[in-house]
Symmetry: C2
Subunit: 533 residues, 2 copies
């Protein structure tokens, strides 16, 4: 392990500086070989590092609040371009650190998604529509959503080294678009990737005149310090994507300190396959389910981890088809050294709650990398209803649990036992044979999920204004917000700024009588309009 003076520096207040007295250090690991990667190690920061970032973040927040929206948009656009310019290096580094395939995943899907997301955020910042300027001329009251007044703390997950990275992903883009600085915690699963992104972010911030401290990053800190950071008065909001245990701890710390916190935690994303659909196209749906579950070695927050099958002989054929597909599939590489055991633990929980193993089930030892066998389990509807909490344990890997309903009447009861999820999907007969069952399920599932799908698997989260990548607790902490999709994602990181009888020249440009761009949509005296007030 490298001595302290060769550890990678952290990004504080516009400069890469040596971490002060790190409490530990670590190296990146290539999960496809289980070997530590060369180059510099990374520091585990102590409190003074974080304190310096808080102070710089506060200053940056005050400065960013005065910047024209176009400047923030310029930064986001420039950063998107910088990521594309360094695509080769980023893809190579991310591949080594995560084992995710270079193509198409990293190069053709995730990297363009990330730069595209930044450009959508730029567009939202530039046109200002996300901020909902509202003018009541009779009352003399005007309001608009604006920045929070402090840095937003963003914790990225292990499974998207670009698109959900704390220093480049959706939460980062949304927080910046709303005018806030970001303090990012890199995920230790891909520190080199995060460092490259942070370099690009810093260069873009400098090129576009963002204040020092607008983008900051550290690599790691002990759990207690992370919670202390989340609760610090200088932090304006917290965003997190990851495990339920970590999300719940962060949420508790931030809640207690009274600050907005957005956690995206766990979800089994149930897929219901109704009788008519099983009869009509069971094999095709089995293929879809297998592909969706195997994608990214099952390490997506929207992986369908649970499928509920209507009863009957076609269900048995479906199970058999899926069992063959699963047994024949090669294990994909998992993201971290801890991943195989974590998946094994989840499978053990499902089995001890009564699920039978149909295929796979073990840590894959044939491959050189961290891996787990593609795994299929099965449980009856009756057994599921006896222990629905344990049988909804998320296995973050290539694992799917089939719930074979004992009767059609049981389907709604199974749906009622579902926790809050990001998504649910229902496959039904195209001719309408399942419509009655669909209606009964829809009533139950609608308030339990963020995104309801028909005849489509939940993996693949389009960056669309209509997307909801969110859902009821415990999938997230608030069912009214999405982490993906602009302009909606930006509003999470804003405060409602109301001006009552404030003199006209003191108002922000978006609230003055004259429409600042001519195209800004504002709610003036009861109508959305681009006219002057």
């Amino acid at each position: 392990m490298s001595p302290i003076d060769t550890l990678h520096p952290i990004l504080v207040d516009g400069r890469w500086i040596r971490a002060g007295a790190p409490t530990g250090r670590f190296r990146a690991v290539d999960p496809s070989t289980k070997r530590e990667l060369g180059g510099r190690g990374y520091p585990v920061s102590d409190w003074p590092d974080l304190e310096a970032m808080l102070a710089a973040g506060r200053r940056a927040a005050a400065d960013m609040a005065r910047l024209p929206a176009g400047r923030i948009a310029d930064f986001l656009d420039t950063y998107a371009g910088a990521i594309e310019a360094r695509a080769a290096e980023l893809v190579e580094t991310a591949h080594r650190e995560t084992g995710l395939p270079t193509e198409p995943r990293l190069r053709n899907v995730e990297l363009p998604r990330t730069s595209g997301q930044l450009r959508q955020a730029a567009q939202a910042a530039r046109d200002g529509g996300w901020s909902r300027p509202t003018i009541d001329t009779a009352a003399g009251i005007r309001s608009v959503h604006g920045p929070l007044g402090g840095p937003v703390l963003v914790f990225g997950p292990n499974n998207f080294p670009f698109a959900f990275n704390g220093i480049a992903g959706g939460d980062f883009a949304a927080a910046i678009a709303a005018g806030n600085p970001v303090i990012a915690k890199a995920h230790p699963g891909h520190p080199g990737t995060s460092a490259l992104l942070a370099e690009a972010a810093l260069a873009s911030a400098e090129a576009t005149g963002l204040p020092a401290g607008a983008v900051q990053m550290f690599f790691h800190a002990d759990v207690g310090l992370g919670l202390r950071l989340a609760a610090d008065p200088a932090v304006a909001a917290v965003a997190f994507t990851g495990s339920r245990a970590a999300g719940m701890a962060l949420k508790a710390a931030a809640d207690k300190a009274g600050k907005p916190v957005y956690v995206e935690m766990s979800s089994v994303n149930p897929v219901f396959v109704l009788a008519g659909a099983l009869r009509e196209r069971g094999t095709a749906i089995a293929n879809e389910l297998h592909a969706s579950c195997a994608m990214g070695a099952g390490q997506f927050c929207t992986k369908p981890g649970l499928a509920v099958l209507a009863p009957g002989g076609h269900a048995e054929a479906f199970v058999e088809a899926l069992r063959h597909l699963t047994a024949a599939a090669a294990p994909g590489v998992l993201l971290t050294p801890r991943s195989p055991q974590a998946v094994a633990d989840a499978v053990a929980r499902l089995r001890s709650a009564g699920a039978d193993l149909l295929a796979g089930g073990g840590i894959a030892d044939a491959a050189a990398g961290h891996a787990f066998q593609p795994t299929l389990l099965r449980v009856s509807g009756r057994r599921f209803l006896e222990d629905p909490v344990a049988l909804q344990s998320e296995a973050f890997g290539p694992v799917c649990l089939l719930v074979a309903a004992d009767s059609t009447e049981q389907l709604p009861r199974i749906a009622e036992a579902m926790e809050g999820n990001l998504t649910a999907a229902v496959y039904s007969d195209t001719g309408g044979a399942d419509d009655e069952t669909y209606d009964a399920l829809e009533r139950i599932l609608r308030p339990r999920v963020g995104r309801l799908l028909n005849d489509r698997m939940p993996t693949g989260v389009a960056v669309s204004a209509a997307m909801n990548h969110g859902g009821p607790f415990p999938s997230t902490g608030h069912p009214g917000f999405t982490a993906v999709g602009f302009p909606a994602a930006a509003i999470r990181f804003s405060a409602l700024h109301c001006y009552d009888n404030v003199r006209h020249h003191r108002l922000p440009p978006s609230l003055r009588d004259h429409n600042p761009t001519g195209a800004l949509l504002r709610w003036i005296d009861g109508e959305w309009t681009t006219r002057d007030a």
Copy 2:
């Protein structure tokens, strides 16, 4: 005290029923005479009462989710009319229970505000614009804000028997407009008023075909049961207006259970009077401040409890004018038997933190009712900065603390010591002499308050689409939301319902290709429009 069988019934699942085995009972008190009022006593409910309301609320939520928006709007309009039809009885009862003046306050201001609020909520429900329907035709994804899937628990405060009543006020109207049932906890300070309102609500719900359980109310429960209720899985969200201690406890319970919670707690609403304004019109501002502070005997969440004066001789004249006004004012009636002592405790906290008493300061014993002397305190800026937390203790009564700044440079430091507040006001010279100081203060105050005022006192919260009756913690729990003003208030009680590839006939009307009203504004493929998709 009345025996159990003469206690007022509670409203459960569409019927007035006797509380089962109440854990206690209480009577309404006339605070202007300190005497218990006649008529029936009111029950303190035990858990089975609340459990029955939860079950009914869940059923009602499922049914309300299927109602056309027009039906909910009809209910809100009908209820507004019913309140106006029973205005005489309501005003008389509220006056007896709260001591608030019949005219203009209750009859001419608060009651019309309440019915007007319900009609604004009806309008929001009818036109549906609050729900932000969003359609992405290329991706096949559509989303709209919809009800939460369970009842919303609303706790009203003591100081607005109509406009913030749990069964009739802003949170009630917003929760219903978003399609949710409400379980209201009446405030024990005005149980008879709440019962009359609940009768009108029930009759209106029946007349417009809302499900039984859409509007329910209980009168009281022990603190522990209130917290258990807030954390119950059947409750979809919690809204509270009241003291910081109670709000924090409720917020903690709801946060832990992972549900949206909106608490409006405490605020001292600082007013800054700059040097030019003091010189130009100090006496006029002193009069305004006195009137704003005395209004409702100082029992408004937007009462200016703290005024910061720029240094100089004009500040001394201002203090003197205010001292005269305060000393000459008659004590108003406070809302509850506990109010005088609570105000006395707050004044004691301010004094022990170094504030000097200039006028008043004691419980008013001359009047027959619960009252506190109009009170003025003063502290230097230097002393304030030594203990800013204690010196921001809210006194919920006719109490104002003047902070006399020692220098102009000290003003921003005083502003920086401010906690999150609902409002801040700045009075400045009309000629521009204070503009530099204003700019410095605005930068600091903007992220610390929801509503920033110029040359206007904060009391009087207009029901405007541009209003923000909210603010950063600890004034509320989230700075992005307002409790007053439609359509924004409704969005708090909604989930984002996303439909991905869902068959067209299964979409809610607001997301189908055809615009259901022809006038519903929807975000379709990147523009707000009323056209069909």
